[in-house]
Amino acid sequence: MTDPRDPHTHDEVVDDLVARRDEAVTDLMRSPPEGADGAFVDHYAPGAPDADAEYEVALESLSQWQLARRRFRRHRLAMVGLVIFSLMLGVAIVGPIVQPYEFTNIPGASRQGGDPPSLEHVFGTTREGRDVFELVINGARISMAVGLFSMLIAGFMGVLVGSLAGYFGGWVDNGLMRVVDVLFAIPFLFIILVAARFFGQGQVSSLILIFGLLSWPLIARLVRASFLSLREADFVDAARAVGVSDLRIAFRHILPNALGPVIVAMTLLMASTIILEAFVSFLNFGIQETQVSWGNALANAQSALILGNWWWAFFPGMAIALTVIAINFIGDGLRDALDPRSRA
C-alpha cells in the first residue's frame, strides 16, 4: 500500500480522509449545505462518485507532493492569484525592455502636479512629467526582486537556524532561540528603518540583505517547532537505528516533512516584504531616487494629492495591492494544499 520511499504518504492520505470526514460531519450538523464549497456529495447515492475509490487510486500512485499539487489546483482563489502574479512577474521581467516610453527622456508636465490620464499617458504623469505607467512597469522589477530574494534569504536562514536548533536542542537551541527572542522583541519596523537608513545606502542589494537577514526568525520558529515534534517520530528512530548520519536525518528525513508550513509562511513573508519595501522607499529610506520601485514612485505623490492629482498615487499603489493580494491568495491555496490540518 505505502510507497517505501516516502513513509508519510499513507499517513497523509489517512489524515486527509479523516479531516475531510470530520469537516463534512460538522458542516452537516451546523447548517444546511449551500454554495460550492459547502456542497455535500452523497457518495452512497446511485451513480455518485465513490470517495473510497478515489482514495484507493491515490494510495496506489500519488506522492505527498502530487496530492498537494492536486489540492492546490482545486483552490480557485489560488489559481486566480497565480495568474495575476505570473502577469506581474512577466511585467517585471520583460516590461522595462519593451516599455513604450524612454526612461530618461522626461518631457515635462504641462500643468502643476502632473497631467491626468490621457491616451498618450494612460496612467497620467508626475509633477516632473514622468509617465506613471512607465513608473509602474519599471517599479515592478525592483519591488518583485526585493520581495522574492529577501524571501529566499529569510527562508534559507530560517530553515538553517530552525533545523539546527530543533534537531540538536540543548545549548544550541537555547543560544539560537535567545537571538530569535531578541529579534522578535524589537519592533520590526523600528529596526528595519534604522538599518535601511544607515546601512542600506539606497542599494537594492543591501535592502534585500537587510530585509532577508531581519525577517528569518519567524521561519526559524516554525521549522524548530516541526523539528521538535518530528525528532521523536518513529521513522527518525528507524533511520537512526540503521545508522543514518545526523546531517542526513535532519535534511533528508525531517526537513521535507516540515516544509509545508514553511513554504506557506515564506509566501506570506514575500507579500509583506513588498509592502515593507514600498513603505521604506516611500519615506526615502530605501531605494535611491535614480531607481524606481513602487514605493519610490509614491514618494512624492502625497504633495501632489493635495492638488487633486490622484493618479500618481493611485496606480503604483494599485500595483502593490494587486500583487500582494495575488501572493496572499497563492499562500492560502498553498496552506490548504500543504498543511491541510491548519485551516485559518
Binding site: 449551500e34 519592533p187 513603505f279
Partner: protein
Amino acid sequence: MVQYIIRRVAQAIPVLFLIAVVSFMLMMAAPGGPQAQFNQNPRISQDAIDRYMARWCLERNPDLLASLRSFGGWLGVWNCDEGGFFSDQGMPNFLPEFLGGGDNGLLHLDLGLSMSTNRPVLDLIVERMPATFILMGTAFLIWVTFAILLGVTAAVKRYSLFDQSVTLLSYIFYSLPTFWLGLILIFIFAVVLGWLPAQGIVPTRGPTFNSSAYWTAFHQAPLTHILDMGRHLILPVATLVAVNIAADSRFVRSSMLDTLGQDYVRTARAKGLPRQRVVFRHAFRNALLPIITAVTLEIAFLFSGAIVTETIFSWPGMGRLYIDGINNRDYFLVMGIVLIGSVFVVTMNIVADVVYAIADPRIRY
C-alpha cells in the same frame, strides 16, 4: 502564580540586556559614528561637542574598550565623569541615586540628551506618548470589537454570503499597504469632499498639541477641543481599523470554528440547548482564550505600530519622533525609542502569558 511571574520576568532580563546591546551596536556601527549628529548642526561649538562626548564617554574613533565604556555609560554601570565602576560617592555606579549610585544611564532613567532638540530623550518620548496612545487606543478598541463581532458571525454562518464577503473583504484590506490606504482616504475625504482634516491632531493655526497653551485652551472649552480632535482622528483611525480588522476577524473566525467543531458543542446541541446559548456559552467563551492572548500581544505593538499612520497623517506621536530622530541622526533618541518599544513588547509578552494562565485553568505553570 507569583512564582511563575517572577520566573518569566527573570527570563526576560537577559533578552532586555541583549536588546540594549543590539540597539547600541546599531548606533555605533552607523556610518559617521556617534558624533555624526553634530554634522547636521553647524551652530554647536567644538567645546560643547567635546563636553557632550565626555558626558557620555563617547570617543571619535572608539576601540573595543572605549565602546564598552560608552555602552556602560549609556547603561548606567560606568561612571563617565570619573571613569570607573564607582560613583562620586564611592558606591557602585549602577545603584539607585539615593543609595549612593551615579545619575547617568538607563538604570537611572536617563536615556541621554537628544542633540537635535537639546532636551532629555525621556522628556521628548513622554511628551509624544499621549498623541500615539489616543490614536492607537481608539483604533484598537474599535477594531477589536468589530473583529470579534464579524469573526463570530462569520464562523456561525460559515459559507454563507456574509461569511464569504467578510473573507473576501478581509483579504483585500489585509493586502492593502497601510500608507497607500491612508493617502487614498486623505484624497477622497479631505481633498475632494473636504469633510475632514488631512493632517495633524489639532488645527494648524492653534497651539501645538500637549503644550501648556493647548491645555489652557482645552480647559476653557473642553467639548469643542474633544470634538475637533475626534474629527482629526477619523481618517487615521479608519486606516488602522481597516487593515487590522482584516487580520483579526480571520483569527477570531478560525478560533471560533475550532471550538464550534468540538465534541462538547455537539453534546450541548444534542442535549437540546438553544443554538444561541451554545454559541455564546460553550463555543465563544472557549474561543476567547486564544483571542485574549493575541489581543494582548497586539497591545505591545500599539506603541510602534503607529509609525506608518503617523507619517501619513502628520500625527505628532512616537512614530514621527522616531522618523525625525533617524533623519537627524539623533542616536540617543533612536536608541531610547527602540529600547522603550522593546521593553513594551517584552512586558506585554509576559502579561499575555499570565493572562492566559489565569483565563485557562488547564494551564499548569
